[in-house]
């Protein structure tokens, strides 16, 4: 796609790149990202999803359960949640909103060492 042999080609390539950034920014403005690790990654078969926001924390697990039936019982029930690298409390922070552009991590029980 990056044809740079002519001025026209170069301009096209830049235009294409700008469009890509614009589309990405547009997506970020209306969605947040959910990252899946370990068992959550295996269950969904994905490393991430983009979810339309904003959304109350209490609505996320039901939303994901609808997308991946059985996910809640088998995986999410033992997971913690991070928003922009900070843990949130699923009960105390239930009504807090996940904002568009946020990065949400589904954190299964850890097993390092």
């Amino acid at each position: 796609m990056t044809c740079t042999t002519s001025r026209h080609g170069k301009r096209f390539a830049i235009h294409y790149q700008l469009d890509f950034i614009y589309q990405k920014a547009l997506k970020m403005a209306s969605t947040f990202t959910v990252l899946y690790f370990a068992s959550a990654h295996t269950y969904t078969g994905k490393s991430e999803d983009t979810v339309p926001g904003p959304m109350a924390i209490s609505k996320l697990f039901p939303y994901l359960e609808e997308k991946y039936p059985g996910f809640r019982k088998k995986v999410l029930s033992s997971c913690a949640l991070s928003v922009n690298l900070n843990y949130v409390d699923l009960i105390e922070d239930a009504e807090k909103e996940i904002q568009n552009g946020d990065e949400v991590g589904i954190i299964p029980p850890v097993s390092s060492g």
């Binding site: 690790f37 370990a38 995986v75 033992s78 954190i107």
Partner: protein
């Protein structure tokens, strides 16, 4: 049943080399890498003229889980979060033991770690050996308890995600409603026994 020779595909590497956080104020260093761990480098990193001891802990990958043969192991992580957690642990240990702990380094390996190779190296230098042993033990327990790294053990039948301690993190929302159901039902399915499809 899958054949014994079947190995999981090498997972995608999130980065190359070593990703680390070095804190010069507390002389602590934490890192993640997909490469073989360099124990000597970890020892040299914590050398101090004030120290009378360097304690080294090396975690290696075992070939069985309660007698069941494991063919290979794999570690995955959430790099920015696990580095933050590792760094918080290292700094808090330094703060709690500031008079005699001089330097501390924790490196964890990621990706496929073949059996009997090193998955974690903790090195620390202390004024005297007694406190060194104690802090090293404490450090490992904190890492195993908190750091967002996950181990998958591959058996002949496929992979299983292990949990160091079940159900510590998160809240079993469904369990609250299911209180009278007794065990078995509800959200309390231990992740460690959750059979995973071989992807």
């Amino acid at each position: 049943m899958a054949s014994v020779t079947e190995y999981p595909p090498e997972p995608t590497r999130a980065f190359t080399g070593i990703k680390s956080i070095e804190d010069t104020a507390t002389n602590t260093f934490v890192g993640l890498t997909y490469d073989k761990l360099d124990i000597n480098a970890s020892i040299d990193r914590v050398r101090s003229p004030k120290a009378g001891a360097i304690v080294v802990f090396v975690g290696t990958t075992r070939d069985n889980f309660e007698g069941k043969p494991i063919t290979t192991l794999e570690y995955t992580t959430y790099p920015p979060l696990s580095l933050l957690t590792l760094s918080t642990i290292a700094k808090s240990l330094k703060t709690d033991n500031s008079h005699y702990l001089h330097s501390l380094s924790i490196i964890h390996r990621l990706g496929i770690v073949p059996i009997s190779e090193d998955s974690i190296v903790i090195t620390l230098s202390t004024s005297h050996r007694a406190e060194g042993w104690k802090i090293a033990e404490q450090c490992l327990e904190m890492v195993k308890d908190k750091v967002e790294i996950w181990k998958r053990e591959w058996f002949v039948e496929g992979g299983v995600w292990r949990a160091n301690r079940d159900g510590r993190q998160g809240v079993l929302e469904e369990e609250e409603e299911d209180d009278d159901d007794g065990e078995g039902e509800g959200g309390g399915v231990p992740v460690e026994y959750l059979e995973q499809e071989d992807r």
